[in-house]
């Protein structure tokens, strides 16, 4: 992760944060002296020498133990050092996961052949962001493997170690620590905006399929990688959504693009041709060699602890996840039945939604780049919307703004997390950018504006205007505007923070909306 940058004639090398090590341990497994190695269940990179592993694990254990003396319920979550940062997470009782991230750094070459100076940028990475990444690692593991505890019950330490090894070996390669940001903190779900009628049609479709294929326990419906319906509980859906959108869908996106422009389904002997296909399981139903094995996932691990087959079926841009109890053997007949039932209906439904979506877009006018960018998140339903991020792919998440600005967003988020009250923060960044953050009840909104020579009052005015814009965009935002308080959060850093003079101004702008063009942009709320 080296991005050379030319600065003042001298070649500087910029290093982004990267994963140094990642390990899982349970202190109770090797409590006697000399048996410390038994504590370690997984260690990445595996080639590290044994004693170093033991030392590192021991250090973490000690830090956690030590900080417990100050607050027994909340031991240390991270350790900041000059070169790196360690994150601790007790995933299950006595099972700890530790992630060590190397701080970003700048390598400045020196004259006269002396070794280059390395400057570590310790303050550049955020605890909240990487803490969230670490928790997500565990959630993802749990989704596909169940809890550590269950693995212990089933096959002891050996099985658990096997599972950890198998999962994290691949998973850690897909971690892209350099592009983690505020969205990782939220871990939200993008909901597809949809009118009531189409939504009800989807409901009806889901209900019918679940009725005729009674094996199906849960269903989730997505369109354009955005969620429309989830039969799973929120937390399970959150991680499944993450898997689908960052891993499974991107892998299958190319054939999809090819299929979209082909002519409309011709009718062949009363049998509708359709675009439906399995994203998990058999690639081709007609293939006599096809295997009918689907990934298994674990949900509701807190109470009913269910193991399920995950069938992901897609037609055009509509994807449906069917989840079936893992105790059932899935056969070719079942898959054919499902294909025959769901394929034609889903193809029709997908073109319905597409039509509806285009109508809405036409109403809302031509796509114009708005003068600002925003991230919205609602803790209550995990609804997330970002105009900052491009399409997230498996490999990298692209943002359209400078990392420094993303850092400011993260900072504001940390500030919000510290107190329970509603607040609003306005930050002037170095490059004519203004960043406005608002928090109300369960909702957070971050806006980045670029206005040259703007003063606070103007920023306040235009941000208010924007919030009212967003009010139309996101109907359920409404109460956001009813309970803002302004708080002064002075902080001396490279950015200038100013107290907002009158928080209420934002609300007053409500009446001045004239954005009828935006009506219908989003018929569904998030």
């Amino acid at each position: 992760m080296i991005s050379p940058r030319m600065a003042s004639g001298m070649q500087e090398k910029q290093y982004t944060p990267s994963l140094l090590s990642f390990f899982v341990y349970n202190p109770s497994f090797g409590s006697r002296e000399g048996e410390e190695e038994k504590k370690i269940l997984f260690y990445h990179p595996s080639e590290v020498e044994k004693n170093e592993k033991i030392r590192n694990v021991g250090l973490c254990e000690a830090i956690v133990q030590f900080t417990r003396t100050f607050c027994p319920t909340k031991p240390a979550k991270s350790l900041h050092t000059q070169k790196n940062r360690q994150f601790f997470f007790e995933a299950e009782d006595s099972f700890w996961i530790v992630m060590v991230v190397r701080n970003p750094m700048v390598e400045k070459p020196n004259k006269d052949g002396r070794p280059p100076t390395i400057e570590y940028q310790e303050e550049e990475i955020l605890d909240t962001v990487y803490g969230a990444v670490l928790r997500e690692c565990y959630s993802m593991y749990k989704l596909f493997n169940g809890t550590f505890g269950r693995a212990m019950e089933a096959g002891g330490v050996e099985l658990l170690m096997q599972k950890l090894d198998k999962f994290f070996y691949r998973y850690l390669q897909t971690l892209h620590l350099q592009s983690c940001d505020l969205l990782d903190v939220f871990g939200g779900i993008a909901f597809f905006p949809l009118d009531k009628m189409t939504y009800l049609k989807i409901q009806s479709f889901v209900n019918r399929v679940e009725e005729s294929l009674s094996l199906i326990k849960y269903t989730a419906f997505l369109y354009n990688d955005q969620l429309i319906w989830s039969g799973l509980e929120q937390d399970d859906m959150r991680i499944l959504y993450k898997y689908l959108t960052t891993s499974l869908f991107p892998r299958h996106s190319e054939p999809e693009l090819a299929g979209r422009d082909s002519p409309l389904r011709p009718e062949v002997a009363g049998n509708l041709l359709h675009y439906g296909r399995f994203l998990t399981g058999p690639a081709n139903l007609k293939d006599p060699e096809a295997k009918f094995r689907f990934p298994r996932i674990f949900v509701n691990t807190e109470d009913s602890y269910e193991e399920l087959h995950l069938i992901v079926y897609k037609a055009m841009s509509a994807a449906v996840c069917f989840m079936i109890s893992a105790s059932v053997e899935l056969t070719r007949e079942f898959c054919e039945q499902l294909d025959g039932l769901v394929g034609p209906q889903l193809t029709l439904l997908a073109s319905d939604i597409c039509e509806q979506y285009n109508v809405n877009r036409r109403i809302s006018g031509p796509d114009k780049e708005p003068q600002f960018k925003f991230i919205y998140f609602n803790h209550m339903n995990l609804a997330e919307k970002s105009t900052i991020h491009m399409r997230k792919t498996a490999s990298v998440s692209l943002t359209s703004v400078h990392p420094d600005l993303m850092k400011i967003l993260g900072d504001i988020n940390c500030d919000f997390a510290r107190v329970d009250e509603d607040e609003e923060i306005i930050v002037k960044a170095m490059t004519d950018y203004w960043v406005v953050g608002k928090k109300s009840d369960q909702r957070e909104l971050y806006v980045i504006l670029n206005q040259k020579n703007a003063n606070l009052i103007e920023v306040n005015g235009s941000s208010s205007h924007m919030f009212s814009w967003l009010y139309l965009l996101i109907p359920t935002l409404s109460t956001t505007f009813s309970s803002w308080t302004e708080r002064n959060k002075g902080k001396n850093c490279t950015k200038k923070r100013e107290r907002k003079r009158d928080g209420e101004r934002a609300m007053d702008c409500f009446t001045t909306l004239k954005l009828s063009a935006l009506q219908g942009v989003m018929t569904a709320s998030v």
């Binding site: 909901f191 949809l194 009531k196 009628m197 939504y199 009800l200 049609k201 409901q203 009806s204 209900n207 019918r208 679940e210 009725e211 005729s212 319906w229 989830s230 039969g231 509980e233 929120q234 859906m237 209550m380 339903n381 609804a383 509603d422 009840d441 369960q442 109907p475 359920t476 409404s478 109460t479 505007f481 009813s482 309970s483 803002w484 308080t485 209420e504 609300m507 007053d508 409500f510 018929t523 569904a524 709320s525 998030v526």
Partner: protein, 631 residues
């Protein structure tokens, strides 16, 4: 088996004396009257209609054998045919003498096939050589020929409802010539030809009245053969029309089958109808024995159905006449809906059929309940079809009602004749019908999976939405109740998120009450209240109850209602938080408001804020009170 008889005879038949050597019985279809003429009228004529209003008894002179006898509309004039050439008329107008006159048909060598009254004083003679249209002038004791038309006639049919006479002409009898009559005018309508059946439909050497091909005869425009009834049998048939159904009685098999000509395949000009239901005989009727001969313990005599079938009057449209015993009976034929439910398996077709019947409401509702409870195969798609059909009718009614309201509100100035208020037929099954008779009891079923119940409720809501009917909140409440009962809060949340459960105050309050079990309900509820924009007071109350005093104040300011809010309410809430700075802020806010409203920061006695003023002075000192600015 008795459950299978979907046709029955009415409870109270018209009873009349049986035909005999001295007694002639005639049936006038137009007025549904039975005439019993004894000894040519000399010993009395008894006229009985379906109700007592139409019953008359009188005597007339015996001038020969009566061939046909009919009253004009309203029993004003009696026409009696005794010879093949002439008809006699007797005036029955009240307060007029019983004047008599006679009229011969104008055409030479013609013999009268029959006559029909088209009005109280207008009559049409149908002869074998044409038709003659007369007006009877009772006071002048004469008839005036209004119009006549010469044409060869084999047989004729008269439809009293539309006043149309259908003549069978040409040698083969397959060209039908209709004439329409309307207050003194006779208009010839385009004739049409009937393809003589080649297929084993009722095949006869030539077309007689008993062949069946139903033609919808429009008042204007050209005819199309629109409906063909497929009987699949041969033999003698009789036809009745009951409740907009064509009932065909087949004599040899003694069954009746019904056709619903409105049940049609779309995009098909010619409808070939199969019987709606499998053929069944009419429910056996038992004639109670009355009179001296009746022994109390003797069971009623079952009426022999074969006799019934044999005696069907071919021309009789809504009544069946029979004379199996000493006396004759005239029945109305009725369609019983409940037995049809089991005979028609296709629920969609069944709904189409039932929705067009007269007394269908309870039957439809029971079909719905049975469909949901009985674990009927077909499941949700069938449920959806049924709901869609019901709601389509419901919607059509609502729309008609709407246009009527708009029309009446805009006043009669539009020039168009005052519209008639749309009639709410039994087929209009609204949300409350559905709720009370079907859904509420269904949702309490213990043995049905909640998944299915919710799916059905959502299906009903979807169906209503599809035809743009506003869903009543009690349906939403039912859904919410189900979801809450089974801890499916996340589902509920998603429904609300997509506004599937539309905003309303009752719904918002319901959500608020769920807050303790599901905290996010609070946000959902407040959002809903805010969107309603008529519930600002409620929002303030909610915020105050959660001690969000500043929030409440900001909200009320944002909607511009802070001028006349109760200061006491806010100060009370601020005091309760035990946050002195908050109390100070709120207090100061109201002082400033008072200043702006009245030019004086102090509270007026009506606001009952004295204790708060005292408290304020106690905590912050007297000098902290805002001073009135004096110029």
């Amino acid at each position: 088996m008795s459950e299978e008889h979907y046709l029955e005879l009415c409870e109270n038949p018209v009873q009349f004396e049986n035909a005999s050597s001295v007694n002639n019985v005639f049936f006038d279809e137009a007025n549904k009257q039975v005439f019993a003429v004894r000894s040519g009228g000399a010993t009395g004529v008894v006229v009985k209609g379906p109700d007592d209003k139409n019953s008359v008894a009188f005597r007339m002179d015996d001038k020969g054998e009566v061939k046909c006898i009919k009253f004009s509309i309203g029993n004003k004039i009696l026409a009696v045919q005794r010879t093949p050439k002439s008809v006699d008329f007797i005036s029955f107008i009240p307060d007029y003498p019983h004047l008599e006159c006679s009229q011969e048909c104008k055409m030479k060598n013609a013999s009268i096939l029959g006559f029909c009254w088209t009005n109280w004083n207008e009559i049409v003679f149908v002869t074998d050589q044409g038709i003659e249209f007369y007006q009877v002038l009772p006071d002048k004791r004469s008839l005036k020929l209004l119009k006549s038309q010469s044409v060869n006639v084999n047989w004729y049919m008269y439809c009293p409802e539309t006043a149309v006479i259908l003549l069978s002409t040409t040698a083969q009898g397959n060209v039908l010539q209709p004439f329409a009559f309307k207050s003194g005018t006779m208009s010839k309508m385009p004739k049409f030809e009937i393809e003589l059946p080649v297929v084993p439909k009722p095949a006869k050497p030539n077309l007689t009245e008993r062949d069946i091909a139903v033609h919808v005869v429009p008042r204007e425009g050209s005819y199309k053969k629109t409906n063909v009834l497929k009987l699949n049998t041969t033999g003698k048939f009789a036809l009745n029309v009951v409740d907009n159904l064509v009932v065909v009685h087949h004599q040899s098999s003694q069954t009746s089958i019904i056709f619903d000509i409105k049940l049609r395949e779309p995009d098909c000009a010619l409808n070939v109808h199969q019987p709606v239901l499998p053929g069944r005989s009419i429910h056996p009727y038992r004639i109670p024995l009355t009179g001296l001969a009746a022994v109390p313990t003797q069971p009623p005599v079952p009426c022999e159905l074969c006799i019934l079938y044999e005696t069907f009057s071919p021309a009789c449209l809504t009544c069946a006449v029979c004379s199996p015993f000493a006396s004759g009976y005239l029945w109305y034929l009725q369609v019983k809906l409940p037995p049809t439910v089991n005979l028609l398996q296709d629920k969609g077709k069944l709904m189409d059929f039932l929705l067009r019947r007269r007394d269908c409401k309870m039957v439809i509702l029971s079909v719905c309940a049975q469909m949901l409870n009985g674990g009927d195969k077909g499941g949700l798609p069938v449920v959806a079809t049924v709901f869609d059909k019901l709601n389509q009718v419901y919607k059509e009614y609502l729309e008609a009602e709407q246009t009527y309201t708009v029309a009446t509100e805009s006043g009669p100035s539009r020039g168009s004749a005052a519209r008639e208020r749309p009639v709410r037929t039994q087929a209009v099954i609204d949300q409350s019908d559905m709720y009370t008779h079907v859904l509420s009891s269904f949702s309490e079923k213990k043995d049905t999976s909640h998944k299915f119940i919710i799916a059905v409720l959502m299906e009903y809501i979807r169906s209503l939405n599809q035809v743009q009917i506003t869903v009543q909140h009690y349906l939403y409440e039912l859904v919410i109740k189900m979801l809450v009962q089974h801890n499916l809060f996340y589902m509920l949340h998603q429904f609300l998120q997509y506004h599937v459960l539309s905003d309303s105050k009752p719904l918002a309050c319901l959500l608020l009450s769920l807050e303790s079990t599901y905290p996010p309900a609070h946000q959902l509820s407040l959002d809903m209240l805010k969107r309603l924009s008529t519930a600002n007071d409620e929002i303030v109350e909610v915020l105050l109850s959660r001690q969000q005093v500043l929030g409440a104040l900001r909200f009320i300011r944002s909607v511009g209602g802070h001028g006349n809010i109760s200061a006491r309410k806010f100060l009370d809430a601020a005091r309760q938080t035990a946050d002195q700075m908050l109390f100070y802020t709120i207090f100061r806010f109201f002082e400033q408001r008072n200043m702006r409203l009245r030019g004086n920061p102090s509270f007026i006695p009506g606001e009952h804020c004295e204790e708060h003023v005292v408290y304020f002075k106690q905590v912050f000192g007297e000098q902290a009170l805002m001073k009135q600015v004096t110029v």
